[in-house]
Symmetry: C2
Subunit: 215 residues, 2 copies
């Protein structure tokens, strides 16, 4: 197919497709002449994936590129590819002043990881996010929330077990990689949306129409 059809079937404007080609998000089509290229179904699939990552999961274009590189690195172990994706989608956090609040948060995270028997590198990007978030929660007077970390961690393990169990049912290792990468990123969007719905429902029941200041 030519670029116009790719655009029509994906809903992405032609100049945007050209931009993705320039940025290396989308592999070039096969040139049939100096100014004519042919695109395949895989280009359409790739384009849909790019749009899902950008629009739904809000991944920046530069990170999408890294994610897709991990996606395509068939020579690497799946674990390493997942590591690449994690690094790509975790924003760089500049570490706050290293006071005792942060040290306590770091200790809490270390203990959590140990208690749950998680095999993670101590400099994993999510560790920093976790420490900074707990530090912020405590600084905001929300120690209570930070104290429920273990319960959160347990609930979170359900997602992961579920996902990885689903994945191992696939036979083709490339299919597995695809599922894990997509599941990691779009799964987060899914979970966040479900969480908001559950919250709205509970809040409607507990805190809504019954409130004095309402209506």
């Amino acid at each position: 197919m030519r670029i116009a059809e790719l655009s029509r079937r994906s809903g992405v404007a032609v100049p945007t497709i050209k931009y993705y080609l320039r940025e290396g998000l989308l592999p070039p089509g096969e040139l049939t002449s100096p100014n004519q290229a042919r695109y395949e179904e895989r280009h359409l699939r790739r384009l849909r994936l790019i749009r899902a990552l950008i629009e739904l999961a809000q991944v920046p274009v530069a990170s999408v590129k890294v994610v897709l590189e991990a996606f395509d690195s068939e020579a690497l172990s799946l674990h390493k590819r997942i590591g690449m994706v994690h690094r790509a989608i975790t924003p760089r956090r500049q570490v706050t002043a290293d006071d005792d609040v942060r040290a306590a948060a770091a200790a809490q995270v270390r203990e959590l990881v140990e208690r749950r028997g998680w095999a993670v590198e101590p400099d994993a990007p999510a560790i920093t996010t976790l420490i900074e978030t707990i530090t912020a929660l405590r600084a905001l007077g929300q120690d209570r929330l930070a104290g429920y970390l273990d319960a959160y961690a347990e609930a979170v393990e359900r997602f992961t077990d579920l996902e990885l169990a689903a994945v191992t049912s696939h036979a083709d290792p490339d299919q597995i990689a695809e599922s894990v990468v997509i599941g990691t990123i779009l799964g987060e969007t899914l979970i966040a949306a479900l969480r908001l719905l559950a919250q709205e429902s509970i809040s409607a029941r507990l805190l809504g129409p019954a409130s004095a200041s309402d209506r």
Copy 2:
């Protein structure tokens, strides 16, 4: 305190504080003369909250403003304030072409909400996100993942129950509002980070060193 001290204690540059004042994120200090204002502890707390929302939860400045307005709307019921926050932190999704894939996803979401007995408005922002995400997952050939929606929903209810239970232990309704708003937004960051850690751990165990192409 004056602006220099506010800057020093919060770690936010003076011009940035002025910018937040202009944008209405931070209430003005009390003017003691035409070009002199006094800031209180509450300004420092507010500034820390703003930074946590922007840096950790990646909430855009314009949305932070709406969140803080909900935060300060003491006249509204907590349920309505939560609704404001949800609308502020959910990006506008332009609806994809209304084909049968999307219709099926919409039906799936409707059934899920009904099955779980969730009391949510049918035009809640998270509903659209959910439908679009499921549509995208199916378009990407990840029907399996989309099929686990119920299990995801169940795990997600744990968070929410936990949070709301924790909240009702507070007596002061303003404290409750504060906890819910902060918990809603920073909780998501927390959950996402924990999920990445759990995933890294499981993937290290199942898919890591054992792989052929890995060292």
